[in-house]
């Protein structure tokens, strides 16, 4: 049987070190399987967060050989096994222990975003009519499994630590999903500009590259939001127009 070595970050609250574990590998294994096997056979108190083991819940995010990935969807045969596979916790969030980080900041950010506000129902029975093409646009964003890998990789958060000023790609996607929700009447443009820091994104597209759900974060969510913000706040003609029209767009 073949074995491989996994170089796993062990430690608490930012401190710690890499430790090497060798374990047997079998057909079809993913990184999360190796971690579980090591946990069961060698070091029971290795901390790892996971739920579905099917790429659906977004719990098992980590950095594998330096790349932000879901451990449960990373096959070992996609990695060079002649050298140790490094597994580290995400860097953008406070470390708890081993591979687990404190992602609670994300949940707090979401609460700041104005909630869904539907227009009056279209039909007397209280229902709405929506065309599939309009649904399609937001359905892409609603595929998000909240793995926060995009947050992990975005330099505004990772390197510049602007967690206060910037909500990060995940929540720009979330805001886009609300703004483009066919039934929604809320308006989040002012917040995007002044509180959510949309201007801080300089469209590097790193977030899009790591999204396990293949959401086109930058092109489909962030850029259209930026355009809306620009149209409203920086376009003098639009401004004039809005002064005479009852409701901004």
């Amino acid at each position: 049987m073949a074995t491989a070595t996994f170089r796993i970050w062990r430690g608490e609250k930012g401190g710690g070190e890499f430790r090497d574990y060798s374990t047997e590998i079998t057909d079809g294994m993913v990184v999360l399987d190796a971690v579980h096997q090591i946990q069961a056979e060698q070091t029971g108190d290795l901390s790892v967060r996971w739920n579905c083991k099917a790429g659906k819940c977004g719990s098992c995010s980590a950095e594998i050989n330096g790349m932000p990935k879901l451990m449960c969807m990373t096959r070992l045969n996609s990695l060079p096994l002649q050298q140790p596979v490094t597994i580290e916790p995400m860097k953008t969030f406070p470390h708890i222990r081993d591979l687990v980080t404190d992602v609670s900041w994300n949940f707090r950010v979401k609460e700041r975003i104005a909630k869904f506000k539907p227009r009056r129902p279209d039909a007397p029975d209280g229902t709405w009519r929506t065309a599939q093409v309009d649904a399609d646009r937001v359905q892409e964003f609603r595929k998000c499994i909240e793995c926060f890998l995009c947050q992990d990789v975005c330099h505004v958060l990772r390197d510049h630590h602007m967690h206060e000023e910037f909500i990060g790609p995940r929540f720009l996607v979330y805001t886009a999903a609300l703004e483009m929700q066919p039934l929604d009447e809320g308006d989040r443009l002012q917040d995007l500009k002044s509180q959510f820091g949309i201007g801080l994104c300089n469209i590097t597209k790193c977030c899009t590259k790591v999204c396990p759900e293949n959401i086109t974060i930058t092109d489909n969510a962030i850029i259209p939001l930026k355009e809306r913000v620009v149209d409203r706040y920086y376009d003098p003609l639009g401004k004039l127009f809005r002064m005479f029209s009852p409701r901004g767009t």
Partner: protein
């Protein structure tokens, strides 16, 4: 009394899946203070994995549908041991609950005229499942979560409840610990809602996540509440079996709906070999007719590959046992073959089954548009659970409510696909509403410090035995044993053996040790969960021994037929005064004439 971090609320909801979130939203809307506790992070509960859809007679696609048809379908699927009252409420209220999700921001797939699109599923007469591609559960949990966070709920993520607290007869709170720091927490509440999901982790091969250790079932049982229908555990016929790391992962029924067929190693469509007499009239007897059915020909009968989940699972097991299985111990599910029938088959498959295509490609290196999949049954859903009042969802102990997969009644002997997600919102809402009402009429109860001390000591015991056997080996042994001895096909001798093994495993669990400290220590969590797994395993086994017939998901080799007498009763389980499992047979209350008539009409 030792000092614990203490939280006081009107209503405590344990579990943040669809049922728990819906209950919390409702209780909060009633104006009471609500705590919501879950083992994992918000939005990660099992509900997130649901694929196919949520069943509701919206009649958006087929206007012949209405609550009466949905009611009759649910009762037929459950083989008439369901709670007819729950089936009635569920069928009547599901449409409003689905529309409400839309009002809270869910974006379902649409019909051409802009209504909610609904799809066909096994056992539902008309297209009834509102859905979002094959990620309906994600849509639902996210909608409820995003709605809930603006309601002022106190959310305790990554907190695990160890026991329910009682003041006399009444449940007055719960006691647990947080994963991050390993500190103990006391939750005092006037009413408690259990919404902890299922039990699949008692088995080796399962579609369920690590959270499914039967906590709610076990918490309720130890608090003296009655459980019922615990012998009815659904095995989904098509789980992945290869590679080993994905064994058990679900393959949606929609694969067969799109024309996928089951074959043994000789290429034979073995489902044609055993068609139950009850279904003979509605089932195709040749391959050609089966193909026409999946192509939408209303005059064709459905292929036997689409018979009920319990029957298909047993046929697969038979093929494997008799040596006609696939190389890794399953059978073949072939969708690639449709290229003989239609042009551009590969594109068609990718479009209709995107996540299945992706799942096999990424996890098994298999292109399902080219080669067959290997599949086998996987432990999927617990029909049994806390016995509740159908209207209020209150358990047999006052102050305790239950909803979702950990409650029982709606599904009887077999759940129809899509009826779980609707169950969560219909009865989650009711549980929240009645729990809030109960809270308004009651004050906080007294907490017995002794109960907390015992729970704390019990939980910390494994740390005193560092160096002893770890919890994982015991968990694996239990899972393998339940799979072998209390699985899809059961018989008395094997189940008696299982009870012996459970006793041994209990003793082993009492000796399990863990290393390290209390902060985010997975092995400690596993050691604690073992107790719940053992409790539910024993209950499942005893209930299965007691029901000496075969019905729905419960199949006894030694009693292979249905028995009319057992068809009139539920098996009810309660903890006896001696601490042992007690069983009783309880007659199902007589069904009102109107409901009987509906069933007659829909026969």
């Amino acid at each position: 009394m030792a000092e614990y971090l203490t939280h006081e609320h009107d209503v405590l909801v344990i579990g943040a899946g669809g049922a728990g979130l819906r209950a919390a939203v409702e209780a909060s809307a009633a104006g009471v203070k609500v705590a919501l506790v879950s083992k994992s992070l918000l939005g990660k509960a099992h509900t997130v994995m649901a694929e196919g859809g949520i069943a509701a007679a919206l009649a958006d696609v087929d206007d012949r549908d209405n609550w009466r048809v949905h009611f009759a379908d649910t009762m037929r699927g459950g083989q008439y041991v369901n709670s007819w009252r729950m089936a009635e409420l569920h069928a009547k209220e599901a449409p409003a609950r689905v529309r409400e999700l839309e009002a809270w921001g869910a974006v379902f797939d649409r019909t051409v005229d802009g209504r909610i699109l609904q799809r066909n599923f096994g056992g539902h007469r008309y297209p009834r499942l509102a859905h979002v591609g094959d990620r309906t559960g994600l849509e639902m949990i996210r909608t409820l979560q995003d709605h809930g966070i603006h309601l002022g709920l106190d959310v305790f993520m990554e907190h695990t409840i160890l026991i329910l607290l009682k003041d006399g007869d009444r449940v007055v709170g719960a006691f647990g610990y947080d994963r991050e720091r390993g500190r103990f927490h006391l939750f005092r509440a006037k009413a408690v809602v259990l919404a902890t999901g299922g039990v699949g982790r008692a088995y080796k091969i399962t579609s369920n996540s690590w959270e499914y250790t039967g906590d709610g079932h076990s918490l309720a049982y130890h608090a003296g509440a009655a459980l019922t229908d615990m012998e009815f555990l659904q095995f989904h016929p098509t789980g992945m079996i290869w590679p080993p790391s994905v064994r058990g992962l679900l393959i949606t029924e929609a694969v067969r709906g799109e024309g996928g067929v089951l074959r043994n190693k000789d290429g034979r469509r073995f489902m044609f070999d055993d068609i139950p007499p009850l279904y003979a009239n509605q089932t195709a007897d040749n391959e050609e007719e089966g193909w026409r059915y999946v192509q939408g020909d209303k005059n064709a009968r459905r292929p036997p590959d689409l018979l009920t989940r319990d029957h298909v699972a047993r046929c697969i097991r038979r093929e494997v046992r008799e040596g006609r299985g696939s190389p890794h111990g399953g059978v073949f599910l072939d969708i690639a073959w449709i290229k003989e029938k239609i042009p551009n088959a590969a594109e068609h498959i990718k479009k209709k089954l995107p996540s299945m295509y992706h799942q096999f490609k990424q996890l098994a290196d298999i292109d399902i548009t080219q080669v067959p999949m290997e599949v086998g049954p996987t432990t999927h859903y617990m029909m049994g659970g806390v016995r509740v009042d159908p209207d209020s969802q209150m358990a047999s102990v006052p102050g305790l409510f239950a909803a979702g997969e950990c409650a029982a009644g709606l599904h009887g002997a077999n759940r129809l696909g899509g009826n779980s997600l609707s169950d969560l919102v219909v009865f989650g809402k009711r549980a929240g509403e009645y729990a809030a009402r109960f809270a308004k009429n009651n004050s906080l109860g007294k907490v017995n410090p002794e109960q907390l001390a015992v729970a704390e000591r019990g939980a910390l015991k494994p740390f005193e035995r560092e160096g002893a056997e770890g919890p994982y080996a015991v968990q694996y042994a239990l899972q393998a044993m339940m799979q072998d001895l209390v699985g899809i096909v059961r018989q008395e001798q094997e189940m008696l053996q299982a009870l012996d093994h459970i006793q041994e495993l209990k003793a082993r669990t009492g000796r399990v040790g863990v290393s390290g400290h209390r902060e985010y220590n997975n092995s400690w969590h596993t050691a604690i969960d073992l107790n719940n797994l053992l409790t539910v395993s024993e209950i499942i086994t005893r209930a299965a021994l007691e029901r000496k017939e075969s019905r729905g998901a419960h199949f006894r080799e030694d009693y292979p037929a249905k028995d009319e007498q057992f068809g009139q009763l539920n098996i009810v389980i309660q903890k006896g005064a001696d601490g042992e499992v007690q069983l009783r047979r309880e007659p199902i209350p007589p069904m009102p004439a109107e409901l009987k008539q509906i069933i007659q009409e829909m026969k």
